[in-house]
């Protein structure tokens, strides 16, 4: 039997005690999550914005597809990436299965639809407001994409955070393509899964608390940035 207070104490002890294994796991989690969120945003934000402003044939079907991919089952993505990166698969010679780059690839594929769909929604709403003026100035729809993305940067920060949150909380796909190798591809989420499987629930919960704290800190930072921006830019 365990109690939640014990887990909190354990979590606190792990953090303050600077347990090296914990910090290795935390820093790896941050690296792969941030990297995949960044790449997904670099592709997904402009992509979503482009779909929002440019009338394309089959646009409605594209929007429906983008929104549907929101709920892409992560184990499916994990399996597909695994088959691609496996030695027996087409990209096997890259030799990146069971390494952090494989995790980044899988997580990027999961975060990308979310970022693109959300960006599309934000930009489409804003485009109603900006369209006339920008067109009048001679800005084409495509040229408007970077302008809108920058002008909406504080709202889009929410989208980036959503992507980062999705990335940091992924377990299934990371387990499959990473292999949960101790010291190499063991991240917070897979470590929690392993400790749970081993029945070491207090430690699993403690790790969960650390993970939550990490995500909370990121969100608090973003909130502060938004507050500052409203004051500064109106």
């Amino acid at each position: 039997m365990w109690d939640i207070a014990a887990s909190f104490r354990l979590a606190f002890g792990l953090i303050t005690g600077a347990d090296p294994e914990l910090w290795r796991i935390v820093s790896l989690s941050l690296e792969v999550s941030v990297a995949s969120a960044l790449i997904a945003c670099a592709i997904g934000l402009p992509l979503g914005a482009l779909v929002a402003v440019k009338p394309l044939p089959g646009r409605r079907a594209l929007v429906v597809a983008m929104n549907a991919l929101f709920g892409l089952p992560s184990v499916v993505v994990g399996l597909v990436v695994y088959l691609l990166l496996s030695r027996a698969g087409p990209l096997g010679s890259l030799g990146i299965l069971f390494t952090p780059p494989a995790i980044v690839i899988a997580q990027t594929l999961l975060v990308l639809p979310i970022v693109a769909a959300l960006a599309r929604q934000f930009v489409e709403d804003a485009w109603q407001e900006y369209r006339e003026q920008l067109t009048s100035l001679g800005v084409s729809a495509v040229r408007a994409v970077p302008t809108l993305l920058w002008d909406l940067r504080y709202s889009l920060l929410t989208v980036v955070l959503a992507g980062l949150g999705r990335s940091a909380s992924e377990v299934g796909a990371v387990m499959i393509v990473g292999g949960n190798i101790d010291g190499v591809t063991r991240v917070m989420t897979t470590a929690i899964a392993l400790k749970t499987a081993e029945g070491d629930l207090p430690l699993a919960l403690a790790l969960g608390i650390v993970l939550l704290a990490m995500v909370l800190l990121l969100n608090a930072a973003a909130y502060a940035v938004r507050e500052w921006s409203v004051k500064h830019h109106g």
């Binding site: 003026q133 800005v139 040229r143």
Partner: protein, 237 residues
């Protein structure tokens, strides 16, 4: 800055159909040189649609528009809207953006932007965030942005309708300066005072048609069309 060839805009048989509504109906208009046109009419008469169609934001369903004298769209003419849409950046940056999009870069871009701000009296807020400026300042910034592009003709859609009297007076002054520098002005408004002072001619629209086109002082003394007369007496909305 003024070119030897006067700018000329001609609309022939212009018609715009919006759904089931005939917003513009068989409009013939010609503007030549640095005109000062005030567009008047009741709500729904078609002022905004006409401005947008002449500017090129809307496509006519009938008739045609012809430009000459270096003002052919898309550039050579600019538009200022009732509510200015400014980017989340400094005032100066907003003007530079418009120049950049139109191929003006580097030192020339910086110089023209600063010059435009100075001419509308906003040099002291050049680095302030545009969205924190007052309503009047924002509208002046919108004019500066359009003016920096050196348009031969400037369209303004109810430029003072959202402003209080002091701010409106500022805009009136700026519009005067833009015209004095050689740009033709075509603006719509409900402010009869602005129309009287800033417009040399009145074009009165009624239900999508041109009811009359008259020099300003004549229009206000005795308008030719019965619709304009009703409007001036406050009997049309």
């Amino acid at each position: 800055m003024a070119s030897a060839i006067p700018v000329r805009l001609e609309a022939r048989g212009l018609g715009v159909q919006l759904g089931s509504v005939r917003a513009l109906d068989n409009i013939d208009l010609a503007f030549e040189g640095p005109v000062r046109i005030a567009l008047l009419g009741a709500n729904g008469a078609g002022k905004s649609v006409l401005l947008r169609t002449l500017h090129g934001l809307m496509k006519p369903t009938q008739g045609e528009i012809a430009w000459s004298g270096e003002a052919a769209p898309p550039r050579g003419q600019a538009m200022v809207f009732q509510r200015p849409v400014l980017l989340r950046r400094s005032a100066l940056s907003n003007v530079e953006y418009a120049l950049d999009v139109n191929g003006v870069r580097g030192a020339e871009r910086a110089a023209r932007a600063r010059d435009a701000l100075a001419r509308v009296g906003l040099a002291h807020v050049a680095l302030r965030s545009a969205r924190t400026l007052s309503g009047g300042e924002q509208q002046r910034l919108a004019i500066a942005r359009a003016w920096a592009l050196r348009p031969r003709m400037l369209f303004l859609d109810e430029p003072t309708s959202n402003l209080d009297p002091p701010a409106a007076a500022e805009i009136e002054r700026v519009i005067g300066e833009v015209h004095a520098a050689g740009t033709a002005i075509v603006f719509s408004t409900h402010h009869l005072g602005l129309a009287r002072r800033a417009g040399a001619e009145i074009v009165f629209l009624h239900r999508g048609r041109v009811a009359e086109r008259t020099p300003t002082d004549v229009f206000f003394r005795s308008p030719r069309s019965p619709e304009a007369a009703s409007y001036l007496q406050g009997e049309l909305p």
